[in-house]
Symmetry: C2
Amino acid sequence: MDERVAALTVMEGVPEQVEALCETVKFSHPRPDGQDRYTISEVVAWTGLTAHTLRWYERIGLMPHVDRSHTGQRRYGNRDLDWLGFVGKLRLTGMPVADMVRYAELVREGEHTFDERRRLLQDHRDNVRVRINELRDTLAVLDFKIDFYVDARRASEERLVR
Amino acid sequence: MDERVAALTVMEGVPEQVEALCETVKFSHPRPDGQDRYTISEVVAWTGLTAHTLRWYERIGLMPHVDRSHTGQRRYGNRDLDWLGFVGKLRLTGMPVADMVRYAELVREGEHTFDERRRLLQDHRDNVRVRINELRDTLAVLDFKIDFYVDARRASEERLVR
DNA sequence: TAGAGACTTGGAGCGCACTCCAGGCAAGCG
DNA sequence: CGCTTGCCTGGAGTGCGCTCCAAGTCTCTA
């Protein structure tokens, strides 16, 4: 049996864990490990986002409620870093924040939203594919123009030599 | 001798024509042909931009001065459509408007800006390449997650059948 | 020639994704 | 103890790329 599906069928009623399991993506930078309770500035260093943005993400519902210290300061866990890593990918690929918030809501609502989550991601994937093709097309145009300028330079240098 | 370079060395002092020559990109939609003097609404239909945006492009110096009818209405030529096609590509690939304006300025200034134009386009090309890779990375993550949800669906359906 | 619809302008407004500010609390150090 | 540094909040501000408005002029069709 597929390991992921096995995990799914076992973990009824613990949707965040399912999502976390689905979050096994590797990251380029090693995370500040140990406590599993990172301050906001550690998360800033790790994600490249500003503290303002991290707090704003929380306000608009893009973060699944971050833990607090006894004095009310934020303490992010590895799960939060995973989530931020995924959000970062969606952001880099131009998904509107509203859509990311929608996805976050679906995750919070539990397993009965699997279908809608899948659809949301599939739509975005189609989007990304289209944009990759657009970028590739433009790359060809850019190559053509750059070659033109390079050739022009070479020609004028030849004229100097002669 | 390379045809483009030959054209270049012949057309000293007519930089827009050089640029136009460099603008031999094909477009997906046939342009409204005939007069070579299109109204703004024809250009709207052809480019997909709004009339507002077209006028705004002109105000900020992104268009190389559009011709006018005897009463002052805009009449775009094929050269303008070529330029808008190229600008559209840069826009799709996320070049900031300020950079496009800079490029437009360089074109207006003549052939002695070839080197800077090339550099500008090369920088953008690098940029586009990086973004293509980012998109591809995210595509892998999306595929993984979508598969997860698809598998979950299949598993729950199997449970129903049994 | 009349009326509808397209085009003109400068400047104001909008949506997005942050970004910053003011004013205050809490922890660690000499 | 005082000082510095880090973090907290709600709300205001910013930059980008458009987008729209008001009020007037032009063009086209009947």
